[in-house]
Symmetry: C2
Subunit: 314 residues, 2 copies
Amino acid sequence: MNGLIGLDWGTSGLRAYWLDEAGAIRETRARPWGIRHLPDGGFDTALTEIIAGWPRLPRLACGMVGSRQGWLEVPYMNLPADTTELGSAVRSLRAKDGSDVHIVPGLRNPQGPDVMRGEETQLLGALALRPALAADSTWLLPGTHSKWTRVRDGAVIDFCTVMTGELFALLRQHSMLCAGSGDATVDTDAFARGVIAARDSGNAGAFSRLFSARALMLDGALASDSVPEYLSGLLIGEELRSSLASNRFRHDAPIQLIGDAALCTRYRLAASHFDIDLAEPLADAAAYGLWQIASHIGLVSAGSSTASKETSSC
Amino acid sequence: MNGLIGLDWGTSGLRAYWLDEAGAIRETRARPWGIRHLPDGGFDTALTEIIAGWPRLPRLACGMVGSRQGWLEVPYMNLPADTTELGSAVRSLRAKDGSDVHIVPGLRNPQGPDVMRGEETQLLGALALRPALAADSTWLLPGTHSKWTRVRDGAVIDFCTVMTGELFALLRQHSMLCAGSGDATVDTDAFARGVIAARDSGNAGAFSRLFSARALMLDGALASDSVPEYLSGLLIGEELRSSLASNRFRHDAPIQLIGDAALCTRYRLAASHFDIDLAEPLADAAAYGLWQIASHIGLVSAGSSTASKETSSC
C-alpha cells in the first residue's frame, strides 16, 4: 500500500492525516497533544495512539515538533524557501515502534528576525491546491501567532508574525478591561466598532485605544459582556491596519486565507471595513503540503501504484 | 489646628498625607489598601488605621475611591477642567468616625472617550509647583495606565490613556514570550534595543514586532533573561512613538513627568532615543493638588492660623 501519514504537530494540538496513494485525505484525527501537552509516554505514545489501526506508512511531520522543545530539533531554513529546499532539510528520527518519523524544518526570515514552524508546510499545500497563486500572492494564516506571508515563484519570500491571538487571550483572561465581563457574547456590532476604531487610529495605532474598551463601558456605550468582542475587533483590526501600513504585503489582489473557519470568518468580517479582500479559507492545507514534500523527497510515489522505497522498508 | 489630610486612593494602593497649615507635607504613609485590596472592615477601617495618631483635620481624597467600585461614586467631569470646576464637583460622605470624607471627581474626555481618576489632582498639584507651565504644557504620567495630558490656561484640555504598564505585566507573567525567562535582569542594552525597534517600526507600530523578542532569543541574539527588558523597551517605545504620531501632544518644549522615580527613569532613557525631552519627575503631586482643591472650596484656609469651618465641625 502506498500513501502517507502526515502529522501537523503544534504547541497545543496534534492532527494526523492518512493520505492515500493519490494524496487524498482518507481519514483525519485530532488530539489535544501539542508538544506542551503530551500524554504520559511522550511523543512516542502520542504517535502510536493517534495512528492506531492505520497501515504502516511513511510518516512526515511539521510544526513545533521540530523545535528545540520538540521531538527532534530541525534547524530553521532562511528565506527564500520552496518545496525543494524544505525537502532537502528534512531530518529524521527512529521512533520506538521501529519506524522513522521525518520532520520538516521551519523558516527563518532574516529581516525581523522572524520564524515560523508548520505554516511553511500549509503554504506549500495551499499552493498545490491553487497553483495559479504560486507566481505572486499574499497569504494570511490567522491564529495565536498570525502569519502574513508573501509568495513569489513558488517560494516563501517574506513573512511577519503578529501575536493577535495570544494578546486577545491575555486580555480576555487577565486584563482589568474584561474584569466585569461574563461569558463571551456574540456581538458583531461591538466587533465591528473595535475594527473601525483600529482602522481609524491612523499612524498612532490601536494599542493607544485599548483603554477605550473601558471608557465606552463606563459611558454605558458598550455592554460589559460585549467588551471581549470589541477587543477582538480592535486587535484584528490593528493587525490589518499595521500589515497594510507596513507596505510589505500586496493587497491589490485578494489575500488568501488558511486556517480555522470560524476565525477566518472574523478576519473576513474585519477586512470588509478595510479596502482589502480576503478569499475563502483553504482547509487541511498542512496535509497537502506534507504530501508535496513527501513526494519531492521520494517518501511517496504520487500516482504510482508501487510502494515507495520508504514504505517497503517499514 | 489647620491643615489637611490628603488621600491618594487608587486601585492597588492608598497613600495618606498630613499637610500642615501652610500646605507643606508633614508626614506621608502608604499602605497596599487599594480599593480592590481593602483590609477587613473596608474603607472605614483603612482610613482609621492609616491616619491613626494624626489630628482631626478635613479629609480630601482623589483616585479610584470615587469610582463605581469605590467608597462613593463621584461622576466624571467633562473636559476642559480646572481647579474651580473640579472643586465644584467634589462630593462628600460621612465616615463611621463621624467626620466627612470629601472626594474629587475624575475627568472624562469626550474625544475617545477616555477617563482618569487621580491624575487630574496630580496635575493640579504639579501646576501649583510649576506655575509657569499652566499656560501650555504636555504632561506624561507613566504607570499601569499611562496618561498623556495637555494643559492650557490652567485647565486639562486633552488626555489619552495608554495601557503600557498593564500590557507589560500581562506579557511578563503570562506570555509564551517570557516563558523561558527567569528573574528580571537589568539589561539597559536590551531595553534600548526594544525602544529602538519600536521607534523604527514606522506607521505599522511596534505591536507587529512583539514576536521579535522570541525570534531574537531563538537566534541567540537576546538572552532569555533579557526578554522582559526588551519588551519593556518595546512597549515604552511604542507609547512614545504612538503618542508623537497622534500629533495631540506638543513636544517642542520638554514634556513634564509625574510619577514613580524608577519608572520615570525608564521613560527618560527611552525618550533619549526619540527627539523629545522629558523633564525630571515631580513627586507628591497628588498631595499638592489636594491642597489646591481644598483651599479652593474652603476646606482649609491657606496661610491662615484659624481653623477652617470644616475642621471646627469635626
